[in-house]
Symmetry: C2
């Protein structure tokens, strides 16, 4: 960040009065530009023993498989965001969504809010951000071609521990960029 989005003048990193960390503050009008984590909302959508996956048509991880998920938008709920992403990425109509997991990824300042629900219809097709979409049994899932650790871990938790309680965990990433799941409750 270089300039104030209110008045267009340069900003500097400084600790504002009554604050305790550095923010971008406008040198001219004094506006403080806060930067905060983003939520990513997604869903494990099932039909009988199969799960919906999307093959990514966008970077990062072009060509790898993922659960439908994306950045939460203003003026929607977390569940609405997950349902919207399923529609955008797979033209998939989600039934009622139940909270499945809350996963913090502090190393990239993201929080995943994952849901589980039944597909309301098996009519699915690739949206603009997907090369293809499909329904997979546990054995059919391309475990070695999943796009993100949070996707792999969500699917593992789904199969190994089910949906009876909400999973709360965080991911850490070491210097070798190895990502580890830390289960809280």
């Amino acid at each position: 960040m270089n300039f104030c989005n209110h008045c267009g003048q340069p900003v500097s990193l400084k600790i504002p009065v009554d604050d305790n960390r550095e923010r971008f503050v406008c040198d001219s009008c004094g506006l403080v530009h806060y930067q905060n984590p983003n939520n990513i909302c997604g869903a494990i959508l099932t039909s009988a023993d199969r799960v919906l996956l999307c093959k990514r048509a966008i970077e990062p991880r072009y060509g790898l498989w993922t659960l439908p998920a994306g950045f939460m938008e203003n003026n929607e709920t977390v569940a609405d965001a997950a349902a919207r992403e399923a529609m955008e990425e797979a033209n998939a109509q989600a039934g009622p969504l139940k909270l499945f997991g809350v996963f913090s990824l502090p190393y990239i300042s993201q929080v995943y809010l994952m849901f589980h629900g039944e597909l309301a219809s098996e009519e699915i097709s690739a949206g603009r951000e997907s090369l293809e979409v499909g329904m997979f049994t546990r054995d059919q899932i391309p475990w070695e071609e999943l796009a993100f650790p949070v996707v792999t871990h969500s699917l593992r938790l789904f199969y190994e521990q089910g949906v009876k309680s909400v999973h709360h965990a965080w991911f850490s990433r070491d210097a070798d960029r190895k990502v580890t799941l830390n289960i809280i409750d």
Copy 2:
């Protein structure tokens, strides 16, 4: 938003290529400025039958009582954010925190992530954003002087339904600014 925070030139509201909603886009460098919901992390911290509340020393709702809670910062987990807020607002050391509720407030583009835990120590005192802090039994809580509907509803859910499962709900606000709790699961 009037100016690009990358190059300082004016922005305009337009729908970017491959997008489906209006964003602020720089007329000069083309940068898209996404605006997304913010997370507020907080906690119901207990000691025996009493709950920690803070009397707000800042606007909005100066002088009203609240649970310790505040905006999640980059590079922290949701639980770390809740513990940090308890320390900042009440010099309160939280024990292990368990996810209590996820509450969407789409009308102000916020998501509350509330936790429950025991206080690690009864040594509490007002932080910079609090006029005073205190421990309250259910009957002692100043129910008519609570700062936000999400605080009132969190405390009600805590007493009426407990902490055995994670509460998932959203709040709606009508034209008269009346806020309603909508429980999902």
